[in-house]
Symmetry: D2
Subunit: 255 residues, 4 copies
């Protein structure tokens, strides 16, 4: 079980709700994933922009914890404004800080992310910042009092998976709060790998919503996160350069 | 469901039975894996060498299909002799051809593997040869009439995982019989990856028997194979160099 | 030719001077490398600590540009103090900002690096900050007016090479000042790869000083940087999944 | 210096002569590479098919050793016929055996390659077979008496570089004749890497002929092979998980 702030989650998979072909597909994918935490961009909600459709109209949200993000913010101030709007609409007490510093990579701005994190902690939010895999930055964010840290595996929506397992390992080894690997997951093996490295959870969206069959992929991700977590707990074998027989036959009777 | 020769298997995970700390651990790991196919070295059996303990003494084998292998053979003739011994003991009609050509890497000998395969097919066995990931060799073996092909991910027991996904992809793309990725799997992500590439199944042993907690790892592998298969069927997203917002906010109202 | 601030360098290889077995080995390795820029930790100099040996006693420095670094600093203030000491000793007008935020990985502290960079630019230094491969951080540093940016390939002294070629590519694509890949280079292929990605230069130390034969490795790195630069300028072929005959024989007369 | 059969070569780079934009570009690229060995498909020569242009019409071949290959052969018999035609035209006493077993990957057929190798050795040729990176197959070929073994880095013309450095390492470690890594090289780092693993030479073609600027790439490859060889001889540093300061400052006087 995963604890973030005062909350406990059965599933270690957080699912984004963007870009599904329809509300019905979204709903079924969410169910198949067995996630307990749904993320969404506040700016995509009709509380923010009433010309937007309600992304949750076909879903009963009562069983889920909502984790809105501040996507679209380029400064700390924008991020805070977006977070407060979500709070005012009773959508959340948790917020994923997402302050983008680069349009091409959608990678986060470290300085504005730190600022926004400080401001939102002051406002009493449960704060989960999305960050690069910069090891020291992850530590600096934790020193501010965040509730979980969310390093990216690779840029949002690229499906490139875990490019730098070393940095993620260092972040995990040094972490004092849960580490949720966020962004870049492309397939089940990536989600499993993040968990095997010792991550506490995985957040993904495009890997499911953009798959040929989002429902099957949602189910795949459920199993992948479970497999990776068990694999981490089970302690994998060391890698070796030379072979090791699984059924050694040395010293046995000759044919 | 996986079909090999006349047999149908619910699980796509084949589990080796070597090197467990005890018969009890082996039994529980097998159960946790939910495998339907158990593999073992004939030369490790007490039919072959009566000073050997019975590796299955604590297990009821009635629910399993047995896939003995010819580990320890360095020539086609030895492999055939081992296979016939297993057959004579009513252990199998299926055989995994394993003719090792290198003591350091335990990589298979292509020439002797082809010879042994031909001879065992002539004898009426259901033949699954263990082979390197040589693309043309896998095809040549299939032209002989084998029932499944078993390319290695990396050398036996190394835990190096899938070193050459290109070759495995080419083998899978060209295959006319099931492809079971065999050897080198180190952790759940590797098993998932093999399945995502389109393999029909995965055979592993040391990854489970050598893990800190073999039972948990057996369960992890069960989920990993399931995740990978579903991921393959679901068709993953393409990899991209640049980011793609999961919740695009372009064209939205300004803050 | 490489331009940084008012200076022009023939070689794109910067060589660190730490950890050589002797002054004589250091001198010969420097010569073999044909570098024009030598880096060193100010705190290792006897201007800083007169119990230290003079690391350059066997060398004539007249042909080199010196690039001292602020290794050992954990805060911006320490870095500035170290830089000023080097300046006062007439050692430099260029400084490599190195503010470490993690003892285990020696990865840089993004916040203190930014602060130190600002302060040293105000003091009139030619500033080259060592940074992680965080894409947006590299941009933020450039907006301050730095003269080159020095993202790490992997942690100092690890020899892990280029772990994240994507981030380096993004940094290079967006850079408005020279990009010198710094830290983690383990072998010639790593130096070549950095240059092939479009880096303007490479800084390395342990790969040479820690090699079995530092002189040969220094020469190897000279060629690797040259190979990588030419390879970048020559524009490599695209990667393909399927083969392309170099000597296509389709449509030719039958045998 | 590299010895193959009775011949000694200054350069460890073998260059293919296919697919250049013109004879003049080919000639200049060959010069820039400083190679001593030129390879070409016999079937592309006008001795074989007089409608073909002479690929060497603009070159003086007196300084080069020619290494024709049997590209286009799908059986051992075809390969032998092609080799004999080249011999009859006084083109060679060395032959690169290339018997393709797959049109999509142009990967070699292990069985036909072995057969052709045996037959050509019987005919007195100096034989260099192109093979996959199958470790045991490379050994079997050597047991026949070949003069060098040529494992592929990845499929011909793909530019995928060295996919499986483990197999190449095992082949090199076990080799009793020179190992020339052949096929798949995409950029200088790949050529350097092959040499760093201990290969005795590298053969490439498309990486140069298909580059934006073939002359520059030919020069890049010359340096890359040199860098990689020196890097191998110099013995690189071990890879480490955690950082190692190149200029350690522990135990030094406090600021």
């Amino acid at each position: 079980m995963l604890n973030i702030g005062p909350y406990t989650f059965q599933s270690r998979l957080f699912l984004g709700t963007g870009k599904y072909a329809s509300g019905e597909v979204q709903k079924q994918a969410v169910e198949a994933s067995e996630t307990g935490v749904l993320t969404f961009a506040v700016r995509r909600m009709n509380i923010f922009d009433d010309s937007q459709p309600d992304p949750f109209e076909s879903m009963d949200l009562s069983g889920f914890k909502l984790l809105p993000n501040t996507a679209g913010a380029k400064t700390a101030e924008e991020a805070v404004r977006i977070a407060k709007m979500a709070q005012a609409a009773n959508m959340c007490d948790m917020i994923k800080v997402e302050v983008i510093g680069c349009d091409k990579t959608l990678l986060p701005d470290p300085i504005e992310t730190i600022k926004a994190t400080e401001m939102l902690l002051d406002e009493g939010f449960i704060v989960l910042p999305y960050t690069s895999d910069d090891v020291v930055l992850a530590r600096r964010l934790q020193e501010l009092g965040i509730h979980a840290v969310m390093p990216g595996a690779s840029p949002i929506g690229t499906g490139l998976g875990i490019i730098n397992p070393y940095n993620l390992s260092h972040i995990i080894e040094q972490a004092e709060v849960p580490v949720i690997v966020d962004a870049g997951i492309g397939s089940p093996k990536d989600a499993s790998y993040a968990m095997e490295l010792g991550a506490d959870g995985v957040l993904l969206n495009t890997a499911v919503s953009g798959a040929g069959d989002p429902l099957k992929m949602a189910e795949a991700m459920k199993y992948a996160v479970e497999a990776g977590r068990l694999g981490f707990e089970a302690e994998r074998i060391e890698k070796k350069m030379y072979a090791q027989a699984s059924s050694p036959v040395e010293g046995m009777s000759k044919l």
